[in-house]
């Protein structure tokens, strides 16, 4: 059997039941792909960058946005601009650093901004202590880049001391 749209052999036999009547289609792989694709209009889930862009457009003037974009997390150094371009955060502290912008985003995406599920059984979580190691690691990397090896080794010792405690 030949494809009903072209001359190639029909290998796909599709039964369309959009209306009340059955509609039989005999298509070659290429035409079948095209046919099935044209029908596939299920909307994509909104992406984080898309939602964020929408939100910022509504809430910020161009000047405000410029200022916001240049804001950096003191721990990992990521700028807000980098986050909103990639949709990925740089470290746990970003959730605190960009809290004002993230809160409406979270409500937008999840319909909520408070976690109600599982919690680690370990006792008090000292966020500051943990992000301290991230900051020290970054400073160590920068020290190495600047060839300040003495500072780098001091920083390494401090990281080791903190890690040893936990």
């Amino acid at each position: 059997m030949k494809c009903q749209n072209c001359e190639k052999p029909a290998t796909f036999h599709i039964t369309d039941l959009t209306g009340d009547e059955l509609l039989a289609l005999h298509l070659c792989p290429d035409c079948a792909k095209e046919y099935l694709k044209s029908d596939d209009d299920v909307e994509e889930a909104p992406t984080i960058t898309g939602v964020l862009q929408q939100q910022l457009k509504l809430e910020q003037t161009a000047e405000d946005l410029k200022e916001l974009d240049s804001r950096e997390c003191p721990i990992c150094g990521i700028s807000f601009y980098e986050f909103r371009q990639s949709g990925r955060l740089g470290c746990p502290n970003d959730y605190a650093c960009f809290a004002g912008e993230l809160e409406p985003l979270l409500v937008n995406v999840h319909g909520d901004n408070v976690h109600v599920g599982k919690r680690p059984k370990r006792g008090s979580e000292d966020m500051e202590m943990q992000t301290e190691t991230i900051r020290l690691r970054r400073e160590m990397k920068e020290a190495v880049e600047n060839e300040d090896y003495e500072k780098a080794s001091q920083l390494r010792d401090r990281i080791r001391a903190i890690e040893g405690d936990s």
Binding site: T11, F12, H13, I14, T15, D16, L17, T18, L22, A24, P29, D39, D40, D41, V42, E43, A45, I48, I75, C76, G77, I78, S86, G87, R88, L89, G90, C91, P92, Y95, A96, L102, L105, L106, V109, H110, G111, D112, N113, V114, H115, V116, G117, K118, R119, P120, K121, R122, E125, M127, Q130, T131, T133, I134, R137, R138, K141, I162, E163, S166
Partner: protein, 358 residues
């Protein structure tokens, strides 16, 4: 280890478990990050290597992980990485990434633990058929054990902190892999999925984000991760699955009733015939035809074939599996010929035996 895996199936294609004619597998994944490292995007090469070795060392000490094999994904060649993607043990993102990254897998392929994917840790548990509760019980326990060894990034109000804000909170994605050929044929599938979107569920193809719905397989999963407990999220996905099963069964009943029956029987038989006799066949066409044959077997239209055999063919005819089984690298053309040979071998019709007897 990868070579010996190639000939088997893994948990999600075992083809047993509750409602396994429609539900292939149930899967839960948790996204976790270590508190004292930046997220992957801001990690240096040293950070990534350090995360990998820390996780590997800590897991060694826990007896729950003694069955896990730790595989250095960065050292694998393309074929082996693709092979793990086809088995759903690693994501495409992890396969295509650069730098230190790894996966820990157990012998039965029920659990995989990816290191340095989008988050530091992506824990995944799979169960054959529709059994989310069993998946949750296991992954919850595994998560507890890991938490005893490693300090997770956790915020008292926001929960588990993740690189992408879409995963924050529980960090949990609950997915059920369903086979819906009748809903596809009758074109009801989009209507069903549009309804799902309205209740915060996501529908994806077999290999996750951006992948087309190969072989009429769809993954239904939760969209949101924050503001609902793990149990609530499992219920949210779990509640729609029986509805979906019911829709698919109704569509199958429709296709097999009255005059439609001849059309369906014809379509299924032709699909079976093509798979048995093709001299060269693409992976897409194979999936498409196997899907119809699978439904045909479930409806009793094809008698001499078992579901586990079909499930095995689904995975073994994929590009990387085919090449692993043949122990040879093959280009697309060679693969299409090998695939046809492989299908012929495994779908030998009884007719040819009769012919020989006569």
């Amino acid at each position: 280890m990868l070579d010996s895996m190639a000939s088997s199936c893994g948990e999600w294609l075992k083809g047993n478990g509750p409602d396994s004619d429609i539900v292939m597998s149930s899967r839960i994944r948790l996204a976790r990050n270590l508190a004292d490292y930046p997220f992957i995007k801001r990690c240096t090469d040293i950070d990534r290597a350090s995360i990998e070795s820390t996780v590997r060392e800590k897991l060694k000490t826990g007896k729950e992980f003694k069955d896990q094999t730790f595989i250095n994904v960065a050292e694998l060649d393309n074929l082996d990485r693709q092979f793990l993607v086809e088995r759903q043990l690693i994501s495409r993102e992890l396969a295509d990434a650069e730098g230190a990254r790894a996966v820990a897998i157990d012998g039965l392929e029920r659990m995989s633990l990816m290191v340095n994917e989008e988050d530091h840790l992506r824990i995944q548990v799979m169960k054959s058929g529709f059994d989310l509760q069993a998946a949750w019980d296991q992954i919850n326990q595994v998560d507890d054990r890991i938490e005893e060894q490693l300090n997770y990034a956790f915020h008292k109000d926001l929960g588990y902190l993740t690189a992408c804000p879409t995963n924050v909170g529980t960090g949990m994605r609950v997915s059920v892999l369903v086979h819906l050929p009748a809903l596809v044929i009758t074109k009801h599938i989009e209507k069903v999925f549009r309804t799902f979107q309205r209740i915060n569920l996501v529908v994806r193809g077999l290999y996750g984000e951006g992948s087309q719905a190969m072989g009429d397989f769809y993954q239904v999963s939760n969209q949101i991760t924050l503001g609902k407990s793990e149990e609530e999220l499992i219920k949210q996905v779990g509640d729609v699955v029986p509805v979906l099963i019911n829709y698919e069964r109704k569509a199958r009943d429709f296709l097999i009733s009255g005059e439609n029956q001849h059309n369906l029987f014809d379509q299924v038989s032709r699909a079976y015939g093509t798979l048995q006799n093709a001299q060269q066949i693409s992976s897409e066409e194979t999936m498409y035809l196997l899907s119809q044959v699978r439904m045909g077997v479930n409806l009793g239209l094809i008698g001499d074939l078992e579901i586990p055999t079909i499930n095995k063919l689904f995975i073994h005819t994929q590009p990387a599996h085919l090449q692993k089984l043949r122990r040879n690298e093959l280009d697309t053309m060679e693969r299409n010929i090998e695939r046809a040979n492989y299908l012929k071998q495994h779908l030998k019709s009884d007719l040819s035996d009769d012919a020989e007897m006569n």
